[in-house]
Symmetry: C2
Subunit: 359 residues, 2 copies
Amino acid sequence: MLQIGEVMKAWKKNIRQVIPYVPGEQPNCADMVKLNTNECPYPPAPGVIAAAKAFEPETLRLYPAFPENTNLVEALAKFYHLKKEQIFVGVGSDDVLANIFLTFFNSDKPILFPNISYSFYSVWADVYRIPYECPALDENFCIRPEDYKKENGGVIFPNPNAPTSIYMPLMQVEEIVAANPDVVVVIDEAYIDFGGQSALSLIDKYDNLLIVQTFSKSRAMAGARIGFAMGNAELIKAMNDVKYSINSYTLNAPSLAMGAAAVEDVEYFGETLAKIVNTREEAKRRLSALGFSFPDSKTNFLFATHKEVAAKEIFEYLKTKNIYVRYFSTPGIDNYLRITIGTDVEMERLYTALEEFLN
Amino acid sequence: MLQIGEVMKAWKKNIRQVIPYVPGEQPNCADMVKLNTNECPYPPAPGVIAAAKAFEPETLRLYPAFPENTNLVEALAKFYHLKKEQIFVGVGSDDVLANIFLTFFNSDKPILFPNISYSFYSVWADVYRIPYECPALDENFCIRPEDYKKENGGVIFPNPNAPTSIYMPLMQVEEIVAANPDVVVVIDEAYIDFGGQSALSLIDKYDNLLIVQTFSKSRAMAGARIGFAMGNAELIKAMNDVKYSINSYTLNAPSLAMGAAAVEDVEYFGETLAKIVNTREEAKRRLSALGFSFPDSKTNFLFATHKEVAAKEIFEYLKTKNIYVRYFSTPGIDNYLRITIGTDVEMERLYTALEEFLN
C-alpha cells in the first residue's frame, strides 16, 4: 500500500496483479464437526495406511520418480482401463487444471465456463491472462448446453457442478463436447464418484476431451495433493511438456506410493462411497423435514437453502456450536449453504443443532 | 506429428509450444553409484525419520494447512532469524523459482541470467513468454558483474553457479544487487550451504532482493519436494498471492511435517555438510592426481575436465561400471563432467574405475 509522500519503487510496477483466491476457513479445534471443505469423513484405504507405514524416509534423499513412470500412473491406467500415456498426474486437481489452462487455453477467443461454478476458473484465467465468458445457469441452477455452442477458445465445467451439486446427464455433456470440435473441452469431475456417470467413456470418440479427477474427495486423500487428467495421448503429452517446463519433479515420493495404494484398494473405495451416499440420502430426508430445500445432489455435499431463515444466520449459529459448513456471499447463491456429508455421528450433531436453532 | 494428407485439427493450434526440459537420467539398479543429480549421499536427519514414522496417514483425508501457518515456515523463520512473513515455501525450488518468474518478471525488457547456468531459467522464460538475455561467462566460467549493469526486466543467477560450481564472493553479489534497484534480483542459492556465504544478510538493505534455497541438496530431501524463498514481506506477499491463485494447497501434509523436522535438527545438518565438504576436498586431490582439472567448487559437485580423455568417453565408460555422473552436450561445456560428491565408499569406487580407464 502506497503511503502519502512515498514514491512507488520501480520494481513494484512489474508485479503480476492478481485477486487472490480466498479458500474456506480451516478451523482446527477439538470436538469440531468440519463440513466445510468437502473432505471425506473416512480415512484413506487400509492399503494407504500400510503404504505410509512401509515408506522408507531414508529414500527421501533421492529425487522422486517421474510421474509417468510410477506405480501411481500404472494403478490409474489399470483401474480406468487406459494406457499410461493417457494419464497426467499433478499436485491436486488444482495443479492439473491450472496446467490445462496454461497448455490449451491460448486463443484470443474467450473460454467458457458457468457463472456459478468452481471459483478458481476465473482466477486461473486472470493470472494467465486468458479471456473468458461465463454463461448464466438457468433458474434451477442447471447448465444450459446451448450456451456452449458459440465460438470460444475452450470449454470447462464441473460435472456435477459445484457448489450447486447438480449432475448433468452424460447425453447433455456429449452434446456440449460434440458442439466444440475445435477447442479443448474439459470436464472437471471432482465429485463424479458419488453417483454420476463419468464422461471418460467419450475420450476415444473425442480427441479434444479431457477428464479431470482428484484424490481429495472420494479417495479421502486431500492431504496428499493428487489430481489427474485423462484424455488422448496427444493431449497428455502436451500437458507433460508444459509441466516439465515448470517443475519436472512434482509429486513427492510419499504421495506417489500412497496414491497407488489408494487406487489398488477397489473394495474399500466402493464401501466408502456407499456409506457417504447413504448418509447423503438420509441427510436429504432430515434436512427437508427441517425446512431446507436443495438440488438433488450427486456429490458429497448438499447445496441447501432454508424456507425461513437466512443462510448466513444458520452458518453463524452453527459455528457457535463448533459445526463448520461453507457459506458464500456471492450474489445469487448468498442464501445457500454448502454442507459436506460427514459421518452419521457428525450429521446427527448437525441435525440436533439445526433443530435447536430452527424450532 | 502431422501425417501426409492429414489436416491439422483446430484445437491443436492453441497448444502452448514448449521445448521441454530434459532432466538427467534416473537409473535405478542395484549396486549403482549415483553421482549424477547432486543428491545428498546421506539420509535426512534423524528428526525427519522420526517425523515420518510419527505421521498419521489417517489425517490425509483433510486438506493440509496453508504453508504460511505451518511448523515448516516457523522452523525456517527461527533458523534464519526472519519473520514468518519473509518466507515463501513451494514444491521444490523449481516451483518457487517458476513462481518468481510469473510474479515478478513482467517487464518488456529482457531479464538477465548467465549463458551457462541452471538450464530451467530459459525454459521458464519461454513458457511464460518473458524476454531474456544471457551474458556470457568469462574464460574461467565466472560471472562478470559488469554484464548485469544494463537496463533489464530482472536478474537471476545461482550462487554458487551450476554446473560450474563457482562461488561469487558476497561483495560482487552485492555489486550486482546494488546496480539493479529497479527490478527484482534473485539469488538462487541451491548450493550455498556447502561453503559459500549467503546473500541473506542483504535482504534488509535491498527490498528488491530474493534468496531462494532448497531442501533437495544440503538437507537430503529431494524426494520431499521443498524449496523456499526469503525476502522482504512485500515480495513474499506478492508471491503468495500468485501462488494461491494457482494452487492454494501445495505442500502436502507429510512434507510439511518432515520439512520442519529437518530444519530443527541443526546439529545433524552441520555434521552432514562437514562430511560432504571433506569428501569434496579429498576428491579434488584424487581427481587432480588422475589428470582432471576443475574450478574450485563450493558445492556438492565438481565440474571436471580431463587433460587427455574426452568427457563423453569417460561418462560412457563409467556407465558400464554402473557409475552415473552428468554429462552435458551443450557447446562450451561439452568436455566437462558434473560429478556429485557421494560417500567416501562411493567415491573410492569412482577413483578405482577412473584409474583403470585412464592408466
